[in-house]
Amino acid sequence: MAKLKDVSRYVRSKNAGPFWITLDLFFDGEDNYTRFVDAPALSAEGVARIYGVDPAQVRRYPVDSLHVLKISFPRQTPQGGAHERDMHGGQQYIRLLDLELEVASQA
């Protein structure tokens, strides 16, 4: 088991338009990318649980050339409502940093 923050060189989150959040996980090197990109905690179901969204709406894009896993999902409420706490979605990645990643089963 390893924490995401220990196997990535950079993690960020941002709005992708007013209705979506997108997470970019830049793994630290090809080995870490290969080992953890399919970790169950980073599956659509895992991410949906963390952000309280429908797993069917979570989209995952492994970008092999950059050792990046991109994950996008609809915001629970559109940007800027009465209860907005993170207008640009820029702090949404924080709750991923301590996520324990298990190597996917086939490895």
């Binding site: 209705f19 800027g80 207008m87």
Partner: protein, 468 residues
């Protein structure tokens, strides 16, 4: 091979600060146009709901002075998309007034094309009735009530109105809401460059220096030819690398491989990024897949009103159990509002957010988390009118200020930074639409207006004002 079409992109956003030295470096590439974007939904719905620019007129004027001088020097068109942050009609006109002021000082006549893409709800209702408006995930079908709720609705233009304006002889094109990419892709597409390369180059350059090693240098230049494109920063000491350029497809984008635009989809799945020299990247393999023409709609309006208060707390007894304290505070404030405001209370929402503890996420902290040394507790009252929100804040004020840690203890006083403590924040602005509209042509929902600006026009207007 046809000559490449070069576009100078001086920054990611008009008003964010273009650099005179970079513009001169950019002109040495002999660009065919200067193009940049002036808008975004990134900062929230306020700009579109109000039609007002998020940047001050002075910052926009400073950038425009430099850009108009560079345009004049090179004799090339200047294209600006999504004027005044939102690209609403009044934001285009606001930008025109700044251009007029600068032109008046320079004394040269300029031909300006204004492209308006704000939409009348009644015209869109006709479109909706014909089944020509579709939701984008996660939105549901649009109703007429959604359209009526918006203060401003804009449709995102493609490159075609910009191309028509440049072909019509425009020195400056001031566009209403436009996709960030379309304004940069317009002149390469007009000159017959590879469509996939033109759109991909535009996507890479849309945020200016963000696709470079050092994004504090704002400008880049793109050169699009028959098979691909090159991108390089304007600042001599900055660099683009295959990694910085390819990584930009990730930025603020839900899908890093496919980007839907008016009239097609850019697909970069098979794009190849290679260093052309130590600061220039060449990209090939980008594809453009034409589709029936659609324009994305954006709509926004002012909703409920908020009044806020902030109090600072260093009391260790409070900080031992921030969540317990905040929960009790919420309960006490709710009771107070129900007792004091009667029937109005049901329409009032109170939100308490302890900055320094869990205000950003709103999630409980794990047991055993170290206590903070201080918190800033933000009180947010949301109500149908500003007066009601302020009434709620004033009603809650003594309890927000003095709530003891335990019943029966002496009343503490927490640290208000302001007097009066309450701040009227104005309305909550919200996006209302997440839909696309099918159009018969790229021009169906766009209006073009031609204006000549010159010193004489400005003087005569000033004279008229002087006599009034």
């Amino acid at each position: 091979m046809r000559e490449a079409t070069r576009v100078l992109v001086p920054s990611g956003q008009l008003g964010s600060g273009v650099r005179a030295d970079e513009l001169q470096a950019g002109l040495s590439h002999r660009p065919h146009a200067i193009a940049l974007d002036a808008g975004s939904t990134d900062s929230g719905a306020a700009s579109l709901a109000t039609g007002r620019s998020k940047y001050s007129p002075d910052t926009v004027r400073r950038d425009l002075e430099l850009l108009m001088a560079a345009r004049e020097q090179a004799g090339i068109p200047l294209l600006i998309g999504s004027c005044g942050s939102s690209g609403a009609d009044m934001a285009v006109d606001w930008t025109l007034e700044i251009v007029r002021g600068i032109a008046a000082a320079s004394g040269r006549a300029l031909k300006v094309a204004l492209l308006y893409s704000e939409q009348d709800p009644s015209a869109l209702k006709v479109k909706a009735a014909a089944g020509a408006i579709r939701p984008l995930a996660p939105a549901g079908p649009m109703t007429d009530a959604d359209l009526d709720a918006c203060d401003h609705i804009v449709a995102l233009m493609g490159p075609e109105p910009f191309i028509a304006a440049v072909e019509g002889g425009a020195d400056i094109v001031l566009g209403g809401r436009t996709t960030d990419t379309a304004v940069l892709a317009a002149v390469p597409l007009m000159r017959g460059a590879h469509a996939g390369a033109a759109w991909h180059a535009a996507k890479v350059a849309e945020c200016g220096g963000l696709c470079t090693v050092n994004p504090t240098f704002p400008g880049v230049v793109i050169a699009v030819d028959d098979t691909g494109f090159e991108v390089a920063p304007l600042a001599a000491k900055n660099r683009c690398t295959p990694q910085t350029v390819s990584a930009h497809m990730l930025y603020e984008n839900s899908d890093p491989f496919r980007l839907t635009e008016p009239g097609g989809v850019l697909d970069v799945t098979d794009a190849r990024y290679a260093a052309a020299d130590d600061r220039t990247v060449r990209v090939t393999g980008s594809r453009w897949e034409p589709t029936p023409y659609t324009m994305k709609l954006e709509g926004a309006s002012a909703g409920a009103f908020q009044t806020i208060m902030l109090v600072g707390i260093e009391d260790p007894l409070v900080l031992e159990d921030v969540e317990g304290f905040v929960a009790r505070m919420a309960h006490v404030l709710r009771q107070r509002i129900v007792r004091t405001m009667g029937a109005d209370a049901a329409a009032i929402d109170i939100s308490l957010r302890p900055y320094g503890w869990n205000a950003v996420s709103g999630l409980p902290r794990p047991a055993g988390t170290t206590a903070p040394v201080e918190i800033g507790l933000l009180f947010v009252a949301t109500a149908p009118t500003q007066a009601m929100a302020t009434e709620a804040a004033k009603t809650c004020n003594p309890y927000f200020f003095h709530l003891p840690v335990r019943e029966g203890k002496e009343l503490p006083s927490y640290a208000f930074p302001f007097s009066p403590a309450e701040i009227e924040r104005g309305p909550v602005y919200e996006f209302r639409l997440n839909h696309v509209v099918e159009t018969a042509s790229p021009f169906e929902l766009v209006r073009t207006r031609w204006v000549t600006v010159d010193a004489l026009g400005a003087r005569s207007r000033e004279a008229a004002l002087g006599q009034a």
